[in-house]
């Protein structure tokens, strides 16, 4: 199971798989790989897909992928399941993708779960996207299972966010929607032959009216993904948004912002690790813990003094 960057640059899919595994588990060589590939990133069209469970996200993204494949584009999918610390997220990728897409060499699918912290999951997703991007995949999907803060954080790694909704869900789901409406660049009403599609459309429009006016008004597309209906229009809308991002300078702005926040997060992680590996094992720190435990002092006073020393 040797990994070589040469195989990676030669387009060997196994090398891509191994690279992601090394990066995901932060094994030796992780940083070298990321340093190597960084200069080759920034080319792919990165699309995030989110929406309530049961909205048909995976069916829709399968249909979208087929459209992109028809255009001759290669596609990567990072399927992320942050909801369970126990499944490791593997269920998602394995269950859904047992279809013809897995036989297509122009499609690369990878699922990721929560092994460490949620924050870690978002960064690992970003790294997997960069690896696929450098590998040369043209379009990369980031797919999440549900809707929640962690999903929102993960989807923020995309340039364009697709929000999938479905008619006829209850009030709880409607409430959740309010949160994901803010991040949607393109909306899809899937299963649009169901009752309530028109009402849902009106609701989305109303919510969009309530938001700040932007130069980009998110379009609302209608699909029946399992019959491939309306899917081409979604591809067009995604392309329109990409063009808008490029022409308005927003693509640059968002990516610069992302570079900034990624760097801050990395500094943060690095310092945490330093604290974990050094400070927390010293006799001095153990002494502080003992004093706090015995209430001879309080944690705030101790922390003030430790942090003061680091930044003195």
């Amino acid at each position: 199971m040797e990994f070589s960057m040469k195989d990676f640059w030669n387009g060997n899919r196994r090398a891509l798989a191994r690279a992601i595994t090394i990066v995901e588990n932060e094994r030796d060589g992780y940083e070298d790989i990321m340093k190597d590939i960084y200069h080759h990133t920034g080319r792919a069209q990165v699309i995030g897909i989110t929406g309530a469970p049961g909205a048909g996200k995976s069916t829709l993204s399968d249909a979208l992928i087929k459209q992109f494949r028809k255009q001759g584009k290669t596609v990567g999918i990072v399927a992320v399941d942050p909801t369970s610390p126990f499944s490791g997220g593997a269920i998602l990728g394995d269950r859904i993708r047992m279809n013809d897409l897995t036989l297509d060499k122009g499609v690369y699918i990878r699922s990721m779960g929560t092994r460490g912290s949620l924050g870690g999951l978002s960064r690992k997703t970003a790294d997997a996207v960069k690896l696929m991007d450098a590998f040369g995949l043209d379009v990369i999907f980031i797919e999440t299972v549900g809707v929640g803060q962690s999903e929102v954080d993960i989807v923020k790694n995309a340039d364009t966010t697709l929000v999938v909704l479905v008619p006829g869900l209850g009030d709880d789901i409607q409430a959740i929607k309010a949160g994901i409406l803010e991040i949607g660049d393109v909306f899809v009403i899937n299963k649009c032959d169901r009752d309530g599609a028109d009402r849902l459309n009106v609701e989305i429009e109303m919510m969009l009216d309530l938001g700040e006016a932007q130069n980009w008004r998110p379009p609302i597309e209608r699909t029946i993904a399992n019959k491939d209906q309306g899917v081409e229009d979604v591809v067009t809308a995604l392309g329109d948004h990409r063009k808008y991002l490029e022409e308005s300078g927003l693509l640059e702005e968002r990516r610069r912002e992302r570079a900034r926040s990624e760097m801050l997060e990395m500094i943060h992680d690095r310092i945490s690790r330093h604290i974990e590996e050094n400070l927390s094992k010293t006799g001095e720190f153990n002494g502080y813990v003992e004093d706090v435990f015995e209430r001879k002092t309080d944690p705030f006073t101790v922390v003030d003094s430790i942090v003061g020393k680091i930044f003195k």
Copy 2:
């Protein structure tokens, strides 16, 4: 809305409420309050309650509270909803508690939601527990809405964890249980008059057999919480566990561990804030971001150099 520590020490409930608000929002004076009260913490019996949605956690904890009140003990509840970043968690506390408990001056209820990060929520929960403890409440419940990693993190602030299960839920729920079984010190099969209670009991026993042998074998109690059936036995089991923790030295050990991890987390937060407030706004850092964005360098190389300088 002036806050005074004098009112707090005099047992004024409004002062407690204000103190929690100040701490929750990290307003001015937050650290002074925590420093002041720290020496008065460590007395309360802190109980975490978790379990699948629909298991009747809030009905059970209401019934438990009534038992503790009969014993003349005062009770605090921190009701935490980490699932939605949008509800602010207020729904939980407000919806459930519209009953006679709210009129009892020996019971203090507070709900908390996700306003910042999930990690932040766990720390805010810990702070609220400390405030209630120092205020003099005898028993403090930490209640969560669902089951997931964030709930597990929150419940870790308790000395004793009660896991509430209910017969006849589907396979998905059973899978989730595997995760919370590990943290249960006492199990309750609520709604035990339903079909499947015996089978559930056997399942829990089997899972407990699979785990490492411990000196404490978690008891499995059966309740019908809305009829107050079996609730007294749960109170007894909670007391037994507390006694076990004290006599075995585990209570000290767990609390020392918690002091340690809280301090590490505080150092972590403090350093992040320092980075956010100082480093990230400097022209030097902006220059690095620009270089990374233009791919003149990569984030890893830059971060290495920045972190190296901090710990030089």
